[in-house]
């Protein structure tokens, strides 16, 4: 289980960073989304990986999983969702204004 989660986080991070280096707005946005997925899985793992245990008080529970990372991950998901929406809108605006979707600035603006 640990190996599966760890390699999933690593793979998503690697793919995300590769896509961000592509310098076109669509791959960059997908890359940022993948990075935030990796991040969310990582935050979950920071509360230690357990299966089938409740996060809140229960009379029958044999043990508990840490509830705080779940609250943190919820915040992180909401924020990254909002941010992705913002960057999609801005990238769309930049594409419509300039006619191309390159992330780097034009040569005459440096």
């Amino acid at each position: 289980m640990e190996i599966l989660v760890a390699s999933a986080v690593g793979l998503m991070t690697a793919v995300g960073i590769y896509l961000i280096l592509r310098l076109r707005s669509f791959p960059v946005i997908v890359g940022l989304a993948l990075l935030s997925y990796a991040c969310n899985a990582f935050i979950f793992a920071s509360g230690r990986i357990v299966t089938g245990l409740p996060p809140i008080l229960s009379k029958t529970a044999a043990g508990y999983t840490d509830p705080l990372p779940q609250a943190l991950v919820l915040t992180a998901i909401v924020i990254s969702f909002g941010m992705t929406a913002v960057i999609v809108m801005m990238a769309l605006g930049a594409f419509l204004e300039s006619g191309d979707d390159r992330i780097d600035l034009a040569e005459d603006d440096k």
Partner: protein, 501 residues
């Protein structure tokens, strides 16, 4: 516990929402309410500053949950000082935006402005590392909107770069926080300070990695080389008043470094030791020169101001990286100075660019209307930014040099003096192209409204710099006391009442 501590967060939040929902169609009313809210924010923050000076650190338990289980806001001298600085800069720059009509160029300027203030004040006040992340995101999302205010091809492109860079930074922030949580089981800053010294040796590697990732996040915010690439395009393309307000956003990065790395990653922590100082100082010294060469080489006034901001962050981080009470006090004095000077410089650049129609420095244009006044303003802000006497930049750099002792003395002194010289050269070149090498008659430029309010706002910032220079004696005494409390944070930790249940 009094409730005033949360006012700098709640007041802009309510006013932002109110402006957005009720006043979205009437700009005049939005101006009145937004300015009144910022004036109130300044008043409350001055009161908080007085309270923090008299009473020491105070903690506000949100929802009355005890720390470390609930989120806390902590008011101490440093956070109160930064909130006052933010409110003052915001008020002056807001008057400038109203005086020049920048707030008319797009929609929802004042709502975004208030949300921006909410994020910045929250980041200064929070005592919880995850809450710091949340307030970073609040200030960022408002800054995305302000950055592209008014639209335009280049501004939108620079905006997408800025957002992409900062989203990467946010992801890094989350990775760092999750690692810290997995090792210590807490994200309350005072609780971290209490728990990190007793960390088992097997966790040292993890906490070092987390500490360095956190440092990188703050370095992105503070535009430290090699993580500064977002700044020049963003600041040069952002609307003038927004760039001036962003002068306090880079200080959020510096503030976070001072707060976190004196409170829970101090130099006597066995797990990390001198690791952060050893990373921060070389980066800060290189930042000095990247900024200085940028000021010299820029072909556009907006870029000159942006690279000057990078140099001043290099100077600030050079002082911060020493992690001694003397150097921290010098850093705080310089931080206040460079916020005011940076804000003034961006506003003056905006005044000049709007009158010339372009910011280019490669060709001479007809003399500007109000040439003499603008030249005097530019000269004053250039002197302040470069650190020449008689303004506070000189005193700030002198304090930093004076606080630098020991093996790094030669290299730090050399770097600060050399880079200041290069910045002076760059500003002289820009100033002489703009104001002396004019060709043609003044009538050749299109006429431009006089905008007295905008000039008054710039004058207000320069006057604040003069006051900060004159008040240097009492101010440094107060800041030394503040720095001593930062480096000996027992009162800060005790105020959180950990384990008091």
């Amino acid at each position: 516990m009094h409730h005033w501590i949360i006012v700098p967060v709640v007041l802009p939040a309510i006013m932002g929402a109110f402006t957005l929902l009720v006043l979205r169609t009437t700009l005049d009313l939005a101006r009145v309410f937004s300015t009144a809210a910022t004036v109130a924010l300044l008043g409350v923050s001055v009161m908080l500053l007085h309270g923090a000076t008299v009473n020491g650190p105070e903690v506000y338990f949100l929802g009355d949950w005890p720390a470390p289980f609930g989120i806390v806001l902590v008011l101490d001298r440093l956070s109160a000082l930064m909130v006052v600085l933010t409110a003052f800069l915001a008020l002056v720059v807001q008057l400038y935006a109203i005086g020049t009509g920048w707030d008319r160029n797009g929609r929802h300027f004042h709502a975004l402005w208030q949300f921006q203030l909410m994020g910045v004040c929250g980041a200064f006040l929070t005592g919880d590392a995850f809450n710091l992340f949340v307030f970073f995101e609040v200030l960022l999302i408002a800054s995305y909107g302000l950055m592209i205010h008014g639209g335009g091809r280049d501004r939108l492109k620079a905006g997408v770069q800025y957002v992409a860079y900062n989203l990467l930074g946010s992801t890094l922030f989350l990775f760092a926080l999750a690692t810290i949580y997995s090792v210590t089981g807490t994200l309350n800053m005072a609780d971290l300070a209490a728990k990190l010294p007793g960390l088992p040796e097997g966790d040292f590697a993890l906490i070092r990695a987390a500490g360095v990732m956190l440092l990188m996040v703050f370095a992105i915010k503070g535009a430290l080389v090699p993580l500064h690439f977002w700044l020049p395009a963003t600041y040069a393309e952002a609307p003038g008043p927004v760039a001036a307000l962003f002068a306090v956003m880079t200080k959020v990065g510096a503030y976070a470094v001072i707060r976190c790395y004196t409170l829970f990653f101090p130099e006597d922590l066995p797990a990390t030791g001198l690791l952060f100082a050893d990373l921060l100082l070389p980066a800060a010294l290189i930042t000095l020169f990247v900024g200085a060469f940028g000021v010299m080489g820029a072909r556009n006034l907006g870029r000159v101001a942006a690279f000057a901001a990078i140099t001043s962050m290099g100077t600030l981080f050079t002082a911060v990286a020493q992690f001694t009470p003397e150097a921290t006090a010098a850093a705080l004095y310089y931080a206040v100075h460079s916020t005011l000077a940076g804000g003034a410089l961006f506003l003056i650049a905006d005044l000049v660019i709007s009158r010339r129609g372009t910011g280019t420095l490669t060709e001479a244009l007809p003399p500007l209307p109000q040439n003499g006044l603008l030249a005097a303003f530019f000269m004053a802000s250039a002197i302040a930014t470069a650190g020449m006497p008689p303004l506070s930049g000189f005193l700030g750099k002198l304090l930093i040099l004076d606080a630098t002792r020991g093996p790094d003395m030669a290299i730090v002194w050399g770097a600060i003096l050399m880079s200041s010289f290069l910045v002076i050269l760059g500003f002289s070149r820009a100033g002489s192209t703009l104001f002396w090498k004019s060709q043609g008659t003044p009538g050749d430029l299109p006429t431009h409204p006089a905008q007295p309010l905008a000039f008054a706002a710039v004058g207000g910032l320069l006057a604040a710099l003069a006051v900060w220079t004159i008040a240097a004696g009492p101010a440094t005494g107060w800041l030394e006391q503040t720095a001593r409390m930062l480096h000996d944070p027992d009162a800060y930790i005790a105020a959180n009442k950990l384990g008091a249940e």
